[in-house]
Amino acid sequence: MSLRLGHRRFRDQLSDYADGQLSPRLATRFERHLASCADCRKELGELRRMLELLHDLPAAEPGPGSVDALLRRMAETEARPRRWLSAWGAPVAAAAAGLAALLLVQDVSVSIGLPGSAVRPEARSASLVAAEARALPRRPAPPAPSTAAMLGRRAEFAPATPGAPSGASSSGRSALAACIGSRDTRDCIRYHWMLDLAGRDVPAFLEVFESLPEAARPRLAGDLADLARGSGSATAIADHLRASRDPRAATLAARFAAVGRR
C-alpha cells in the first residue's frame, strides 16, 4: 500500500475516530498514523472544534402554548373549504370548520350514506375539530375578531329558537340530504351553516356574506333562499333579517320573503 493510499484510508476514518466508533485495534492503528501525519492531526483538530460548535447550538424549543395553537390551526385547516377559501377568506373557513364538526359529529353525513371509505377525510377532519374542541382549553382571544366570534359559537350550534333554521335540525337534516344529492357536499354544508347563522346572528351572517366578492353574492343569495324554501324556513329567515333592522339585510330579507311566498 502506498503511503498516499494509506493516508486516504486513515483520513476516511477520522470521523469514526472522533466519534469513538473505531474498534480498539483500529483506533490504535489510527493513532499510530496520527503520530506521524500532521495533515490528519490538523484535520482531526478542526473536526473536533467543528463538532464542539455544533454541540454548542442550543436546542430549539417551541414557544409556550404552541402545541395548542398548532392543533387549532390544524383543525381549521383540515376543515377549511379550500375552493371557498380564496373567495371567502379566513373567517368563513374557520366558521365552516365549526359547521363541519357539528354536522359530522351528529353523524348527519353517515345517516345520508355518503360514499367513501370507512373514515373519510372530511369526517376525520371534522372529528379532529370536535376532538380538539373538547380537548383544548378555551382561548379567549384568537387572532381575528370575526373568526373568534364564529369559533366561539361552535358549541351553540343547536337551534336557538324553535322554528329557526338550523343545519342540525331534523328538517335541516333532510334538506341537507336533498342538497347533497344535487350538489357538492361541501357547498351544501356551507349553505346550511349560512342559513343557521342567518337565523341566529344577522350581523355575523352579513359579515360573512359581504366578505364574498360582490359578483358572487346574488347567486349565493338565490341558492340560500331556494335552500331555505326547501326546508320551509325562508319566511322565518326573512322575518329574522328584517327584525335586525340592519339596512344591509333588507335586500336579502326581500329575497327570502319572495321565495317563502311561492
Binding site: R41, K42, L54, P62, R134
Partner: protein, 222 residues
C-alpha cells in the same frame, strides 16, 4: 504525542442507543396510533402533543428559522393526519414522524425559489466576511456567542439537502445510523458516508473558525 492521541474519544454509540430504543422494542406510541385509527381523534392530538417539541427542534435545524419551522411543523402533522394510514409498523411511529418532517422541510426548501436562495447565500457570505473576526481562536475574544451560533446555523443551511439531513439527524439530534437510515429510507452505509461528507463540507465552510493558527499547528505536530 499530540493531544488527540492522548484524548481518545469515548464511544458515543452507547449514548445514542440509550436515547432511542431499538425499533423492535415496544413502540410507546402504538396504543395511541391504534386508537386514532379506530377513529379517536383525541389520540391523534395526543400524538401531536408528544412529538411536536422534538419535531419542531428538528425543523428549526433543517430550515434555520422558527417561523418556517412552525409552518413546516403544521404541514408535517397535517400530512400525518391525512396520510397516517401509510404508517407501517416496520419502524417506530416517532421515526415515521421524523420522515414526514424531513420531507416537509425539504419540500419547503425547494419551494423557496431561486431568488430566496441567492439572497440567503449573499447574506451568508456577507455575514461570514463582515460579522466575524479573522481569528479562529476567539469566540471569547469579541464575537457575540449568538452571532457565532447564527453563523454555524447558516452554514448548516448552506449544505445540500442530501448532506444536511444526515448531519442534523446525527450530530444535532443524536440519532444512531440505523435510525437515520430508517428516517431517510437510505442504506446505512450511505447514511454514514453522507455524514462524513457533510462534516467535511461543514468543516470547510467553517474553516476560519476551526482551523488552528500556523504556530499552533506546528506545535501540535511535535
Amino acid at each position: 504525542m499530540s493531544e488527540p492521541i492522548l484524548d481518545r474519544p469515548r464511544p458515543v454509540a452507547a449514548r445514542r442507543d440509550a436515547a432511542l430504543p431499538e425499533p423492535q422494542a415496544q413502540d410507546p406510541d402504538l396504543e395511541l396510533v391504534d386508537r386514532w385509527r379506530d377513529g379517536d381523534e383525541s389520540a391523534f392530538a395526543s400524538l401531536v402533543r408528544r412529538h411536536h417539541g422534538r419535531t419542531f427542534g428538528l425543523l428549526v435545524r433543517m430550515l434555520g428559522s422558527r417561523e418556517e419551522a412552525e409552518d413546516a411543523l403544521q404541514e408535517t402533522f397535517l400530512n400525518l393526519h391525512r396520510h397516517g394510514h401509510r404508517f407501517r409498523r416496520e419502524a417506530r411511529f416517532g421515526t415515521f414522524v421524523y420522515r414526514v418532517a424531513m420531507n416537509a422541510a425539504l419540500n419547503r426548501r425547494r419551494s423557496l425559489g431561486r431568488r430566496r436562495a441567492q439572497l440567503e447565500r449573499l447574506a451568508s457570505r456577507q455575514a461570514a466576511g463582515d460579522d466575524l473576526p479573522q481569528s479562529p481562536r476567539g469566540p471569547e475574544a469579541g464575537v457575540v456567542q449568538g452571532e457565532l451560533r447564527a453563523r454555524v446555523q447558516r452554514e448548516i443551511q448552506a449544505l445540500s439537502p442530501n448532506l444536511r439531513g444526515p448531519l442534523v439527524l446525527y450530530d444535532l439530534e443524536g440519532l444512531p445510523y440505523g435510525e437515520i437510515a430508517r428516517v431517510l429510507e437510505l442504506p446505512e452505509g450511505t447514511v454514514k458516508s453522507r455524514i462524513h461528507r457533510a462534516r467535511r463540507a461543514l468543516r470547510e465552510r467553517l474553516i476560519d473558525l476551526v482551523s488552528e493558527s500556523d504556530d499552533e499547528s506546528e506545535g501540535a505536530g511535535q
